[in-house]
Each structure stands twice: as structure tokens, then as C-alpha cells.
């Protein structure tokens, strides 16, 4: 029997005394003679008092009072910059707090570094998994914690793989322990991180936006695992932007704003609207669906586009002034279609027409010259050059137009950038500020500006609001609407269903590399889209 299991088979309620005897554990191991009595050690769980942290300036986290009970899922919500991630890092020993106290089971502890946090049973899982891509799953799980043989201190590879398999099985993850982590999807990598936490016998698992890059199905699976963990008495802190998910999984919600706790509520004692209001300090409401556009001529037409093994027979069209959403699960081939159209990847057959003229771009350069722009989903690697200034990023696509005989007109470059910054309401002190110093939402606006200056007639947006806070999201939505009104044909790849419903005139749903169906505004609903995305039998054919 794995040891982590024995230690944490406790029930959620700390006041009850529960005796578990000979219980059949979910991983199939017979648990013998394990008796856990709770209630004797009260209070149990993790708590903080007056926790404060600043990085030179005013506090980023201030007087934080927080309580995490065994077996609960405690969501922390707040806008970007509210101090959620910093708070988690204080608990995990990444940063030392300036003031305040952390207590585990009522005993004050000093979490000076991540190793101490780990020994106290606290594990932090970052938004982007921080694993070693070239090492196997098993090696990652036991990194720094390898089972070592006796008498010779060699790594026990077989034992390690067996233990890894056991841990993975216990959370229902179908991952091969000897596979290199780099070959796994983000969702699978997260499972590996959870298994790692379990191998450290984590009692408190802190998750920073774990669902940001997962598909709805993967989110469901993660939630099942979280519920399973809580049944075993593990407490989970769950930081997230998506309120639907928070309400689906959390027992309690703590709202943070500007580094200060606004309050903690039981999930049944607060409505979604109220959470949003308290998060932002203003009423946002659900984005109203934009009025149906009266679309013009067909701008982009894709017919029978095929790239073997990636996508097949994809046909769709976008008219001027229209917003067409391309929905589907991650891996359905949406981004791949966009990349083929934009000239990044080749395709085998099919035709692409731009305003009736057949085109086949061999490079993004050609596509941009013909008025087709694609905003990549990966802002940091494909979208922006983060160390360069806002102005230099915006001008990158039109340097030819800003120069004469190769000589760069730096004043015109500046003016162009300032124009875009104002138009897109980018919050930046100056256009010479490096792009990496902006928040995610403002970076996304710079990305939009960078391609708008090419004066595109067709705009393909790939996940335009991923990782963007609520306020900036609304602004980007308004902007996309404005662009369509100006006659730009917009094809928007989005996994955010409320976003699709709020913006799209039509939605094309892809599944398994093919178009699964198309829905008009009147037919659109989250259920209808998901139905097409996962298939009529309810199973995703991946």
C-alpha cells in the first residue's frame, strides 16, 4: 500500500471522529489496520493570519486571512494582479512572507523554502507544468526523490516505474511511466504533476489556473481527480478565471482584490454575478450578444482542405463584416487549418479563395500581402517579441512601409504605434516600454495592433482572450465587434463558449479533423456546440 494513502485517508469534516478499517482503496490495494482518528487534533488544515508580502512597493498580498480544511476545494478568484498567485507562492515557500503567520494543524510553521513546504505536505502545481520534457514520466514524478537501492545506492528503475504506475493509476491517469514527458499533452503533464504531489504525500495541493489550457473533457477528468483527492482528505486550492468551473468544483470561494481578501463564501451562499461584482468592484454582466451583422461579399472561402492525418475536407466561408467562430475541442484541427491557410504549414489538396480568387500561400509574408492576417494563440512564442518595445512589436509587420531604401523612419514608427495604442486602449506608459512589462490582456491588444497595421481584410484570431482577465476580455470582445463592423471578415478560433455565443454570427464546429457541423445564430447554444464537438454519441473521437 502506498504510504501517502495511509496518511491521508481522512474525512472532510474535522470535528467528526471517523474510523476507517480494512477499507478497499480505489487503487485496488487492501488497506489493513489503518485507523485514523480525527477531531482530537483541532484545528486541522492550513491557515494563515495577517500574511503580507511586497516586492519593494506597496503590498501585493496584504493581511491575508485564509483557512483550508482537509477535504475541501477552496477556490480563489480575482482579476489578474489581485495577488492570487503570489499568495500561493507564499504558501509553497517560493517567496518568504514579510509578515504574518502560516499554521498547519494549528501549529505555527515557518515555510522558508519549497522543500520545507513539501515536507509539510504542501504542493504547488503551476499553470504551465514545470517538468523535464526529455525525462520519463516516472523520473519526473520521483525527481529529487528517487527510490534508491540498498546496499548499493543505485536508482531502482523498476521499482520507480512500478511506483509511478501505481500513483498514476490511483488518479485514473492512463499515462505510460516510461514515456518522455515532452510527448504528453498539457493535460497529461498536469496529471503527472498531481502524481508528483501525491508522491510527496501532499495534504494541501495548490493549483494555479490548472484548466487554462485544457479542453472541456480534460477539465472534467481533472475535476473527477480533484473530487477523488478530496474524498481522501486532501485539500485543494483552486485558482481560476472561469467562474463556471469554480462553481462546478469548489466548496468555498475566496475573492481577492488588489492583494486584499474581499471575503470567503460557501459556494451556495453567493451567485456568479455577485462574485464578478466583488472581483472587479463593478457590474460587468454577461457580454450581450452583438447585433447580427448584415454581411457583405464572401471574403474567405475554404473548400475541401485536406492535410492527411491532420484535417480532412474542411470547408467554410466568412463574409465581410461577419464573425465566424471555429469551435471544437483542442486537437480537433482548428489551429492546423488556420496555419495551412496562412501559409505556415503545407496542405495536400483543397482550394482557398480570397474574394473569389484562388490563393495558396507559401509563407505568412504572402498571406499578409494579400490582406489575410492570423493572430497566433501562443502570444509569447509566436505572437510577440517580448523583450522588444511595444512600438517595435507593432511595426514589425510593416517595416517595409516605414522605411525608404532600408532607412527606418523612427518618428513614423512611433506615431503608428501610438495611434494603435490609443485606438486599442493599451494600458502602457509609453510605446517604448518592453512588451513583456504589460499584462496579458494588454499584450493581446498589442498583438492585435501589430496585425491591424497591415490593414487586413480577413482576420483569423486564435484564442484571442486566453489568459486575459475579465476586464480586458470585454474590451477585446468589443474591439473584435468593431473590426467586423468596419467590414473585416473575422474567423475566430475559440474554446471559450460564452465568448463564441456573445460574438459569433455563425459557428463552425470541428471534430477529429473534420467539420462536424455549422450553427447559425439562432441555433447556437453551449449545448449544441458541445454536442457537435464531442460527437452525437457523447464520446470524443480523438
Amino acid at each position: 500500500m502506498p504510504e501517502y494513502y495511509r496518511q491521508y485517508t481522512v474525512t472532510p469534516a474535522p470535528s467528526r471522529i471517523v474510523i476507517l478499517f480494512g477499507q478497499e482503496a480505489p487503487n485496488g490495494h487492501r488497506e489493513l489496520g489503518s485507523a485514523v482518528a480525527l477531531g482530537a487534533r483541532e484545528p486541522s488544515g492550513l491557515s494563515t493570519r495577517g500574511l503580507t508580502k511586497s516586492f519593494g512597493g506597496p503590498p501585493v498580498v496584504k493581511d491575508m486571512e485564509f483557512e483550508l480544511l482537509p477535504g475541501e476545494v477552496h477556490a480563489i478568484v480575482g482579476e489578474n494582479g489581485a495577488g492570487k498567485s503570489t499568495f500561493l507562492k507564499l504558501l509553497a515557500g517560493v517567496h518568504p512572507p514579510d509578515a504574518g503567520q502560516v499554521a498547519v494543524d494549528g501549529v505555527p510553521v515557518d515555510i522558508g523554502n519549497p522543500t520545507i513546504a513539501r515536507s509539510l505536505g504542501i504542493s504547488l502545481i503551476f499553470q504551465e507544468p514545470t517538468l523535464f520534457p526529455d525525462l520519463s514520466v516516472a523520473e519526473n514524478i520521483f525527481m529529487g526523490n528517487h527510490p534508491v537501492g540498498r546496499p548499493l545506492p543505485f536508482v531502482g528503475w523498476q521499482r520507480m516505474r512500478a511506483q509511478a504506475a501505481e500513483l498514476l493509476e490511483s488518479i485514473g491517469a492512463r499515462v505510460d511511466p516510461s514515456q518522455p514527458v515532452g510527448e504528453l499533452s498539457v493535460a497529461e503533464q498536469q496529471l503527472v504533476e498531481i502524481a508528483t504531489a501525491l508522491s510527496h504525500r501532499a495534504r494541501f495541493v495548490l493549483m494555479d489556473e490548472p484548466t487554462a489550457s485544457l479542453t472541456p473533457r480534460e477539465v472534467e477528468r481533472l475535476f473527477a481527480i480533484i473530487r477523488d483527492l478530496t474524498v481522501r482528505g486532501t485539500a485543494v486550492v483552486f485558482v481560476n478565471h472561469r467562474l463556471e468551473e469554480v462553481f462546478a468544483i469548489a466548496d468555498r470561494i475566496t475573492i481577492m482584490r488588489d492583494g486584499v481578501k474581499v471575503g470567503t463564501w460557501g459556494v451556495r451562499d453567493i451567485t456568479r454575478d455577485e462574485v464578478v461584482r466583488r472581483m472587479v468592484g463593478r457590474e460587468l454582466g454577461e457580454a450581450p450578444a452583438r447585433p447580427i451583422a448584415s454581411p457583405g461579399e464572401v471574403a474567405l472561402e475554404i473548400e475541401g482542405l485536406t492535410s492527411p492525418g491532420v484535417f480532412r475536407d474542411v470547408s467554410l466561408s466568412v463574409r465581410r463584416g461577419e464573425i465566424v467562430a471555429l469551435a471544437g475541442l483542442v486537437g480537433a484541427g482548428r489551429t492546423e487549418v488556420a496555419r495551412a491557410v496562412f501559409g505556415i504549414d503545407p496542405f495536400e489538396r483543397g482550394t482557398i479563395r480570397l474574394f473569389g480568387r484562388p490563393v495558396r500561400f507559401r509563407s505568412p509574408r504572402e498571406a499578409l500581402r494579400h490582406g489575410l492576417a492570423y493572430l497566433p494563440e501562443d502570444r509569447q512564442h509566436q505572437g510577440l517579441i517580448l523583450p522588444m518595445s511595444v512600438a517595435h512589436n507593432i511595426s514589425l509587420t510593416v517595416l517595409d512601409q516605414l522605411s525608404r531604401a532600408g532607412w527606418l523612419h523612427r518618428r513614423r514608427e512611433r506615431e503608428l504605434a501610438q495611434e494603435q495604442v490609443q485606438r486599442l486602449r493599451v494600458k502602457a506608459n509609453s510605446v517604448s516600454q518592453p512588451a513583456q512589462s504589460l499584462s496579458g490582456g494588454n499584450q493581446q491588444k498589442v498583438l492585435v495592433g501589430k496585425f491591424l497595421v497591415t490593414q487586413p481584410k480577413v482576420l483569423i484570431l486564435d484564442e484571442p482572450t486566453r489568459g486575459v482577465d475579465v476586464g480586458a476580455k470585454a474590451e477585446i470582445h468589443r474591439l473584435i465587434g468593431e473590426l467586423a463592423e468596419q467590414g473585416i471578415a473575422v474567423l475566430m478560433i475559440s474554446s471559450d463558449l460564452p465568448e463564441v455565443l456573445a460574438l459569433a454570427d455563425r459557428v463552425v464546429v470541428m471534430r477529429d479533423g473534420r467539420v462536424a457541423g455549422e450553427l447559425s445564430r439562432s441555433e447556437m447554444s453551449e449545448e449544441a456546440i458541445m454536442h457537435l464537438a464531442v460527437g452525437s454519441d457523447g464520446r470524443a473521437a480523438v
Partner: protein, 342 residues
């Protein structure tokens, strides 16, 4: 006002200022080693010793900002000397031979870039190969002899001065190219693209930039500058051998890295490279004057290379940390201000 301008100047050019201090230090060091060092003629004449390194460093700055490296420059230099000597021996007028070898040098550079781009190989591997290849071709062509017999107007460029001044011609040529490269890197779209591609080639591709073409061109430029350096060195020695300038590529790379160009690409300046060139040159020349043994010179240069890699990175890390701190403070202050206003 003036004070503020000064502070800004210091903050933006702190690393360059550090190099200036280093230069003063190495001059003082050299002067203390030899009483002959600190005279106007010595100071000017010594520059001719490292102007070839300088010419190649200018193009290498672009190569390294691009995130690449070119190990073949000294081999191109030698091959240019060899081919020029053979053409001269064969009776070809230098007026034709010089453009021909410069075209050859450019071509050799373009081949480097083309190989790296076409086969998606790191430039380190490609130019490690061509470094041996180009020098090997030179050895096959000329064998183990020297070629000389160049016309009088071509040789001893380092003994020609701007009339009435102690300024030698190699320094003038280098200064001209330094200005050209400064303009190219800091004032043209070409230079901007070098920085952009060096920072994030993937994003550049998505922005419709011909990344591969740019890389091939920069390697061609590196070849051309090695060719010009080859002409200069052949003129100085009035002869050429297949093994001339052996190992000089390391001095070139050391110069560029000491000049604050990041070996990871995306950052670097021509001013930094020029300053670093003079720091290195001064040190070497001073040590030579003082009869410091070659192996001891190597120790000093080796230490300098390590410092060259360590100091800029440590400096940047320190800057980034203090900037982050200032920024966090600023953001939080802004939030507080917004809250109290709202």
C-alpha cells in the same frame, strides 16, 4: 535638467561605460608594463595589430545578435589571402583579383548561411565544418609555402597614414566600417530585423518576415568582412599562408561577447563591440611590449573571455531584478492611486 540627462545616459549605457572604464584600466595596466606604451605614435600604431579582428567583429556582432555564430571567419580570411596570392602569381592584376576574392569570401559566407538554413543545422556545427574545410582548401591550393611578390602599392597598409597625421590607414578603414555597421544595425530595417529574429525567430515568421533569407544574408556579410580582413592582413604581411590568422575567430567572438552582445541572441551594440575591441587590443599589445610570455597572455585573454560572458549576464540579471522591483512598486502604487481616486 542636465543632471537628469546625465543619469539617463549612465543608466542606458551603463555597460558601455563599464567598458570605457575597463579600457582606461587596460591602458593604465599596459602603460605600467612598458614605458613605450603611452606615446601618440605607439597608441595609433598598435591599432593596426587588431583591425582585422575589428572588421570581423563588426559582422560577427550581427551574427551573434541573430543568435548564431560563425567559426569560419579566420579560415575565410586565410583562403582569401591564399587565393589572392595565387592570382597575383598567375599574373592577374590585383584590380581584378581583389573584387574576385571579395566575391569569393561573400560566397563562402552565404554557403554557411545556406547550409544552416536548408538543413536546419545549428550554425555552430555548420561553421565548425567549414572552418576546417575552407582552411583545408587553402592548404591544398598553396601547400606549405608562403606566397608573396605583391605589388608595392598593395603591401604594408599599416605603414600608410592619413597625410600629416599619425592615423594609420587600417584604423581609418575600420572606423569607416564601424560607422557603416552602426547605421546598418541601429538605423535600418535590416538591423531591426536582426534584433527581432535574434529575439524570437518564430514570432518573426508569423509576422511575415523572411527569416531564412535574413540569416543567409548576415552570414554572407560575415564572409565579406572576413574577406576584407584577409586583404588587410595579406597587405600587412606582404605575404599569405594557408595557416595565417589561425584561431583568430576566437578573438573575434571574445571581442563581440565582451562588448555586451548576448550569446543567446537579441541583444548587442556596435559601440560595445568597438570598445571591447580596444580593450582586448590594448591588453594584448601592452603585454607584448612588456614581453609577457604568450602562454601568460593566453591566461589573461582566457580570464577576460570568462569575465566577458559572466559580467554582462550578471549585470543584466541585476538590472532586470531592480527593474522588476521598481515596476512592481510602480504598478502597486498606480493601483493604490486608482483605488483612492475611485
Amino acid at each position: 535638467m542636465l543632471k537628469e540627462r546625465m543619469r539617463e545616459l549612465v543608466q542606458h549605457n551603463a555597460y558601455e561605460l563599464l567598458l570605457v572604464i575597463l579600457l582606461a584600466g587596460s591602458m593604465a595596466f599596459s602603460a605600467s608594463l612598458s614605458p613605450y606604451f603611452l606615446t601618440v605614435t605607439t597608441l595609433f600604431d598598435m591599432t593596426s595589430q587588431f583591425m582585422e579582428i575589428g572588421l570581423m567583429s563588426l559582422a560577427m556582432t550581427l551574427v551573434i545578435i541573430l543568435g548564431q555564430i560563425d567559426l569560419s571567419v579566420a579560415s575565410i580570411l586565410a583562403l582569401v589571402g591564399v587565393v589572392l596570392g595565387l592570382l597575383n602569381e598567375g599574373g592577374v592584376a590585383l584590380g581584378f583579383a581583389i573584387p574576385a576574392v571579395l566575391a569569393l569570401a561573400t560566397l563562402l559566407g552565404l554557403v554557411n548561411g545556406w547550409l544552416a538554413v536548408t538543413f536546419r543545422l545549428p550554425a555552430l556545427v555548420v561553421t565548425l565544418g567549414t572552418m576546417a574545410l575552407y582552411r583545408g582548401i587553402g592548404q591544398i591550393l598553396l601547400g606549405d609555402r608562403s606566397t608573396y611578390g605583391f605589388p608595392g602599392w598593395f603591401v604594408s597598409i599599416d605603414f600608410r597614414y592619413i597625410p600629416g597625421t599619425p592615423v594609420p590607414l587600417p584604423l581609418v578603414i575600420f572606423a569607416t566600417f564601424a560607422v557603416l555597421f552602426y547605421v546598418l544595425l541601429h538605423r535600418t530595417t535590416f538591423g531591426r530585423l536582426v534584433y527581432a529574429v535574434g529575439s524570437n525567430a518564430e514570432a518573426c515568421r508569423f509576422s511575415g518576415i523572411a527569416v531564412d533569407r535574413l540569416q543567409v544574408l548576415v552570414f554572407g556579410l560575415s564572409g565579406l568582412m572576413a574577406g576584407i580582413a584577409g586583404l588587410m592582413m595579406t597587405s600587412r604581411f606582404a605575404s599569405a599562408r594557408w595557416d595565417m590568422a589561425n584561431g583568430l575567430e576566437l578573438d573575434v567572438i571574445t571581442t563581440v561577447v565582451l562588448g555586451g552582445t548576448s550569446i543567446f541572441g537579441g541583444r548587442g551594440t556596435i559601440v560595445g563591440t568597438v570598445l571591447a575591441l580596444f580593450v582586448m587590443g590594448t591588453l594584448r599589445y601592452g603585454m607584448g611590449l612588456a614581453n609577457v610570455l604568450p602562454q601568460n597572455q593566453s591566461v589573461v585573454i582566457g580570464l577576460l573571455l570568462i569575465v566577458a560572458i559572466f559580467v554582462p549576464e550578471a549585470w543584466r540579471a541585476w538590472r532586470a531584478r531592480s527593474r522588476r522591483r521598481a515596476q512592481k512598486g510602480g504598478e502597486a502604487r498606480a493601483e493604490v492611486a486608482r483605488d483612492s481616486a475611485g
